[in-house]
């Protein structure tokens, strides 16, 4: 009976190495969790910035599209060409009709 008692106390105690390993694992898990959480928040900021940038670029595209259409507006082009460059529409007698007989017909 006297010999069995120390064996009982041995069983309840965790070895010092195991405890250290457990603490390291817990630390690693907590560290990973925290760093991933921080990374997620960073990604959130980055994503938000990209969304804003995307919207700004889309806005710019729309404005450029509108500007392009405004600049290509035939009314404006005609005005520029006739008033600034002094061009005139050709008169019917100035047309010379040349027919491609090989590929004649509507195209």
């Amino acid at each position: 009976m006297k010999q069995e008692q120390p064996t009982k106390t041995k069983k309840t105690k965790l070895p010092g190495g195991m405890l250290g390993l457990l603490m390291v694992i817990v630390f690693i898990v907590l560290f990973t969790y925290l760093s991933l959480n921080l990374k997620t928040i960073d990604f959130g900021y980055e994503l938000q910035e990209l969304i804003v940038l995307r919207d700004q670029l889309q806005e710019e595209i729309d404005k450029l599209k509108s500007d392009k259409a405004r600049l290509l507006n035939l009314e404006r082009v005609e005005k520029e060409v006739t008033e600034k460059l002094g061009y005139r529409y050709p008169q019917p007698e100035q047309f010379i009709k040349v027919f491609d007989t090989e590929n004649q017909g509507d195209k």
Binding site: I41, G44, Y45, L47, Q48, I51, E59, D62, K63, K65, S66, D67, K68, A69, R70, L72, N73, L74, E75, P92, K97, V98, F99, D100, T101, E102, Q104, G105, D106, K107
Partner: protein, 570 residues
């Protein structure tokens, strides 16, 4: 180390204080985290979460070649945060010095609202870039010393980069981008999209780091029209010149692809810039191509002739007595511009004899003619996806008087729209098939389904009608539309306007036709309302048809038939 009693007491007191401090912190945490949990959570959410409405972008309208006709871009709108009336008035006076256009009513209204103490007052919505720059400067002056302030929010604004081009088709939108006319109105549900709610989570520095869509965002869908903006532009230009030349009240031109019914151009004059829609009178905004009701006059003889030939009641060479220019039926007298004794069926159309047409009508009979009119789609809408399209007026048979048949034979006692006329003329151009005209080609990249063509004329009738209509241009009333090398088929029309059952001194000149007559590519219909001086369709509308057709043939590469003797071989 042994402690004396004084030291022990002090140590004990420190320990007690420490325990109390820990207890206090613990109690506070319990109070914050347990008892006031809901209240504090709401506080945090109010500070970090913002929910706002994200306005959807209205869809863009393109022409058939992808040119932008209408697009929404972001613009700033200025408002006054009216916390102090004196400050607000000072700011408003500064704004007025910045050369920002505001109407007299707007100015008075803003001042009135400042005095009333309204907290939020619009100064001007959808500013131009220059206006925004000027106002931004004003907003920054004395900003810290004033309670009231000028602020800005972003809104979408509709731009029409082609100005007045295709204005009657596009219509326009209101201040909140709601469709008010044209395709902007009829396809508003598709163009508008759906606003959505967005939750933004911010950190302590109010920097957003999470975006959560509470509703699915849905921007408006883009629409592709069949019209070609270049073609539309020069059709409008030619129409404007013609309306001004003849000092007419208004005019309309419809250019349609004969093969599939696509509207290539639909012009109206007077026109307007869609941005100025709210300052434009309803008469100008009205798209006359689809909502102008008028008596078609002699252009309607085409319907009569096609129906008569389809019924095999007569041949093109059959003669009809035309009563030498004066024909009495019941208490009415029909007259011709020139007196004719006998004219063949085709000559009646070529020289546009009213009496001859009445005689053909009498031969055809009421029922058959009425059926023919209905077969050509008169009295029904074309379903063009444009708002306010008129059905026209076709009286039912039981309401026809004793002279209705004769009048209907040359285009009176019926009201039609130009779009119905172009659809009817295209039946002959398109080998007897009636196709519904269409103006919207695709929505969000998906090509729209079109109605099936309906065969209403036999090939024999079509060949005869084409030949007659070609003769109208070669030697009849439509001589002014002749184009060298390109066969044109058409019919002129001149209608005396009728007001309160009495004829007036005003006329409507029209011309409908297609070219090249042997293989039609383009069907066109022109109506000029109340030209002064010359008023015959052949003098007013037909030359316009010619000038548009000449430019169109170059643009669409419709080459003249080759005269081999003067050919330059490539």
């Amino acid at each position: 180390m042994k402690l004396n009693s004084g030291e022990r007491r002090r140590t004990f007191l420190i320990f007690i204080f420490f325990c109390l401090w820990v207890l206090l912190i613990g109690a506070s945490l319990v109070k914050i985290q347990v008892f006031e949990y809901g209240k504090n959570l709401a506080k945090v959410q109010a500070q970090s979460n913002r929910t706002f409405t994200l306005h959807s972008k209205r869809g863009t309208i393109y022409d058939s070649s992808g040119e932008v006709l209408a697009i929404s871009v972001k613009a700033k709108s200025a408002f006054l945060n009216n916390k102090d009336k004196a400050d607000s008035l000072r700011i408003f006076n500064r704004i007025l010095r910045q050369n920002i256009y505001l109407s007299r009513d707007d100015k008075q209204n803003i001042k009135k609202r400042i005095h009333q103490g309204d907290k939020f007052i619009w100064i001007k919505r959808k500013l131009s870039d220059a206006e925004y720059r000027r106002l931004k400067k004003t907003a920054s002056v004395d900003q810290d010393r004033m309670q009231s302030g000028l602020d800005f929010i972003e809104e979408y604004t509709r731009m029409y980069p082609q100005n007045a081009t295709a204005c009657h088709i596009l219509g326009g939108v209101g201040i909140d981008e709601q469709g008010l006319g044209g395709i902007e109105y009829s396809l508003d549900d598709i163009l508008r999209g759906k606003n959505c709610k967005v939750k933004v989570v911010r950190d302590a520095r109010q920097k957003a780091f999470k975006l959560q869509y509470l509703e699915k965002p849905q921007d408006g869908k883009d629409i592709y029209l069949t019209i070609d903006s270049s073609l539309q532009f020069f059709v409008e230009k030619e129409l404007e010149a013609a309306v001004k030349k003849h000092n007419a009240k208004s005019g309309t031109v419809i250019v349609m692809d004969s093969r599939d019914g696509a509207i290539l151009a639909m012009a109206g004059f007077p026109n307007f810039n869609p941005i100025d829609l709210k300052y434009t009178s309803p008469g100008v905004i009205k798209n006359k191509a689809i909502s102008f009701l008028y008596h078609p006059g002699s252009t309607f003889k085409i319907i009569l002739a096609a129906t008569a030939l389809e019924q095999n009641l007569c041949s093109p060479q059959q003669p009809f007595f035309c009563y030498n220019g004066v024909y009495k039926i019941k208490d009415q007298v029909l007259t011709d511009e020139k007196p004719y004794d006998y004219l063949t069926f085709e000559e009646i159309i070529i020289y546009s004899s009213n009496i001859g047409a009445a005689r053909i009508g009498e031969l055809l009979g009421r029922k058959k003619y009425y059926e023919g009119i209905n077969r050509f789609g008169f009295g029904t809408q074309t379903g063009l996806l444009l708002p306010a399209e008129e059905r026209g007026i076709v009286n039912p048979l039981d309401k026809w008087s004793g002279v209705s048949l004769d009048f209907l034979a040359y285009g009176y006692e019926i009201a039609v729209t130009p779009i119905q006329m172009v659809r009817a003329f295209n039946v002959i151009a398109n080998d007897g098939c009636m196709i519904q005209p269409y103006i919207a080609k695709a929505i969000a990249g998906v090509v729209l389904k079109r109605a099936q063509p309906q065969k209403i004329l036999s090939p024999g009738t079509v060949v005869r009608m084409k030949a007659i209509m070609e003769e109208v241009v070669k030697r009849g009333t439509g001589k002014t539309t002749r184009i060298e090398g390109i066969p044109v088929a058409g019919k002129t029309g001149t209608t005396k306007k009728i007001s309160k059952n009495k004829s007036t001194m005003y006329y409507i000149s029209s011309f409908g036709g297609f070219f090249p007559a042997n293989r039609p590519r383009v069907t066109m219909f022109i109506v000029i309302d109340e030209p002064k001086g010359q008023f015959y369709g052949g003098d007013v509308a037909a030359p316009l048809f010619k000038s548009i057709a000449e430019r169109l043939s170059i643009y669409l590469k419709i080459f003249p038939e080759v005269d081999k003797t003067n050919e330059i071989k490539l």
